[in-house]
Amino acid sequence: MRHTLAVLVENNPGVLARVAGLFSRRGFNIESLAVGRTENPAVSRMTIMVEADDRVLEQVIKQLRKLIEVLKVQDVTKEEHVDRELALMKVNAEPAKRAEIIQIVEIFRAHIVDIGRKTMIVEVTGDEGKVNALENALRPFGLKELVRTGKVAMLRGTRDMTTNGKEVEE
């Protein structure tokens, strides 16, 4: 089963290598990994998608927690949460095809952010299913380039995952 892990880490050089190295040497599969700083500049947040059964997942989480620079690990998969991914798609767009592409883009509430002589760049934000669906819809026109950020996720409501006060990992 696929799990979405939210991981707070100290914003130090090398911390990404520690996390990535852990996954590779223990044979855990990362499907995607998105990382950036948080409301606290000393802390970065990683959203890691991992394909694992319950037993492997438990090991992944425990091994992550063992890293000294990892502050908090949470599996948000089964919690109420919002997740989003951003993708840029460069699609073949001869003038005759543009109207059709624009129509598809509007249906998905995506944006066209660049037009070249024969191509357009489409920007889409959404959950994974929406990004996949748009990709499939545009593929027949000829998808020249595709880049996805990987998923980021956050719990709904007042529950949060900061390192302030007593929220630090026990």
Binding site: G14, R65, L67, I68, E169
Partner: protein
């Protein structure tokens, strides 16, 4: 203002470090300059791998943090095998390496390697420090990390311009590590549940590991075993945590464990794992391991729980603390039929070997155990001799066996014995090695001679790589490949060159004639024991088999 190099030494003094093992070089010169006037003793080894193994042996024998120092590049890479050895066995070591100046980092400069990158998977944590002002805090953190929770090696990489810089020296009393809060006390309701499970069981077995020794829990383990009348099997790392001559002791379990330990585990209805990680050498085929038992697993590292064996009751905590909470919940009970059954295993399936002509390696160990009465410290290398030590030497006290368990690192023995002797100079320190392992690090004979240490070395010399040969006998139909040494030096003569007393023996009687003299004598000595070349380590659990299916 003092240089960071001096600050490093001041920090070590504040941590109570009395000696460091090391090897100098260009990038670490400011630290060595500060060592010149320091009270801390520096032991110059012959290869950096020797320094880290010596720090390991020192830490294992004393319970204190071992320290070693090396330069950048090859100095640092020579540490790698030793760091992995310490990591696998959870040995507290702080390593300080020089690095090229910060402006050169990343330029493939002379003697530059990314040692923090290289050692990421084999250190508990490591630091590359670019700000001179934080060096004391980093050192404080390193010692804290190395010795608390599940101990392990911590490396600090210091560029040369950082150690040459000057700072106002201030050593913090405490450090905060936001992401590091090891669980010390076990959960009270889990511990209460453990007490309940103990009373529900009729066939309990305790499996004791290295965690019992590193947490100092041997006295509590003894109480536990006696109160609940449970026999105690040990992992290799756990030997000495429970007295080997106690009637409840089953010796070592696992692939070369005693039959009675393995049978007791297989037939138990409750297995209490204390400070163990259920390593593959102990469990054999996991699916056949302790098939009738409920498992209680106590360990300070939550990631070990459920990694190899799924416990029915996990308790995360320091073994000593957990046992101190558990013991008052227990009242004495008799072992009854179960202890009688286990006594039957011991009577019917003892450790044994045939005592024909020639010198049996098992005999050498048995004799050493008898002559020393289990006092002193035994250091081993890796291979058949190591297993015979584990089987035939009766360890009575914690920190009396110093051996590379998890990594199985040949070459560990001699430098680790040097470190152990430095740590416990009042103890008889014995190194048991093999002709293969010894030749990997015999360069450290120079360090031994220079330091004038009274170390007694026994080489079980079968003129081949005995353990590999044994594996080839069983798994590759005796197609012996690259296991014979057609040349080795005369080890007794080699010892003489280094100023040790050298002996060669090839019969039990000849060994008997020298062993007491060697152990009682002043100064270092080496006994080259020409043993039966094709002796096998038995019992032996073959791949895919359960612990109760050993052959011998």
């Amino acid at each position: 203002m003092i240089t960071v190099g001096e600050a490093v030494i001041r920090c070590l003094e504040k941590e109570g470090v009395e000696l460091v093992f090391g090897y100098p070089g260009g990038a670490v010169l400011p630290v060595y300059d500060a060592l010149h006037d320091a009270k801390i003793k520096h032991v110059l080894v012959r290869n950096e791998q020797g320094a880290v193994h010596a720090a390991n042996g020192y830490a294992r024998a004393t319970g204190r943090v071992g320290v070693c120092v090396a330069t950048s590049g090859p100095g640092a890479t020579n540490l790698v095998t030793g760091i992995a050895t310490a990591y696998m066995d959870s040995v507290p070591i702080v390593l300080i390496t020089g690095q090229v100046p910060t402006v050169q980092v990343g330029t493939d400069a002379f003697q530059e390697v990314d040692i923090t990158g290289i050692t990421m998977p084999i250190t508990k944590h490591n630091f590359l420090v670019k700000d001179p002002a934080v060096v004391p805090v980093v050192i404080k953190k390193a010692f804290h990390l190395a010795r608390t929770g599940r101990p392990g090696p911590v490396l600090i990489d210091l560029p040369r311009d950082v150690t040459a810089a000057e700072i106002e020296f201030e050593y913090p009393e405490q450090v905060q590590l936001k992401g590091y809060k090891p669980t010390f006390k076990g959960h009270p309701s889990q511990i209460a549940q453990a007490a309940k499970m103990i009373y529900e069981s009729t066939r309990p077995v305790i499996l004791t590991g290295g965690g019992v020794i590193s947490s100092g829990a041997a006295p509590e383990l003894l109480k536990l075993a006696e109160i609940i009348s449970a026999p105690v099997a040990s992992t290799l790392m756990g030997l000495g945590g429970f007295p080997g001559d106690h009637k409840l002791s089953l010796g070592m379990a696992g692939l070369h464990g005693t039959r009675y330990a393995n049978m007791a585990i297989t037939n138990s209805d409750l297995l209490i794992g204390l400070g163990v990680r259920f390593a593959d050498r102990v469990t054999g085929t996991v699916g056949k391991f302790a098939p009738k038992a409920r498992v209680i697993h106590v360990d300070v590292d939550p990631a070990e729980i459920g990694k190899n064996v799924q416990p029915h009751l996990p308790i995360v905590g320091d073994v000593k603390q957990v046992l101190l909470t558990l013991l008052p919940l227990l009242s004495p009970r008799e072992g009854g039929d179960w202890l009688a059954e286990v006594a039957g295993y011991k009577r019917d399936y003892p450790l044994e070997y045939t005592r024909e002509n020639g010198l049996k390696p098992q005999y050498v160990i048995e004799k050493l155990s008898g002559v020393t009465r289990g006092e002193g410290i035994v250091v081993t290398d890796v291979g058949q001799h190591q297993m015979w030590v584990a089987q035939y030497f009766c360890f009575k006290y914690p920190r009396t066996l110093v051996t590379s368990g998890g990594l199985g690192c040949m070459g560990y023995g001699l430098p680790a014995a040097i470190g152990a002797k430095f740590g416990r100079p009042e103890k008889q320190v014995i190194l048991v090695s093999g002709d293969g392992s010894f030749q990997m690090m015999m360069t450290e004979l120079g360090t031994l001679a220079e330091q004038g240490l009274t170390l007694k070395i026994f080489i079980l010399n079968n003129k081949r790589l005995g353990m590999v040969r044994q594996l080839q006998e069983f798994y590759y139909d005796k197609r012996y490949s690259a296991v014979d040494f057609s040349f080795s030096p005369d080890f007794a003569a080699l010892a003489g060159i280094y100023g040790l007393s050298g002996y060669t023996v090839d019969t039990g009687a000849a060994f008997d004639a020298v062993v007491e003299e060697v152990l009682a004598g002043e100064g270092p000595a080496l006994v080259n024991c020409l043993v039966e070349p094709e002796e096998n380590v038995f019992p032996m659990v073959l791949a895919g088999k359960g612990l109760d299916e050993a052959i011998d």
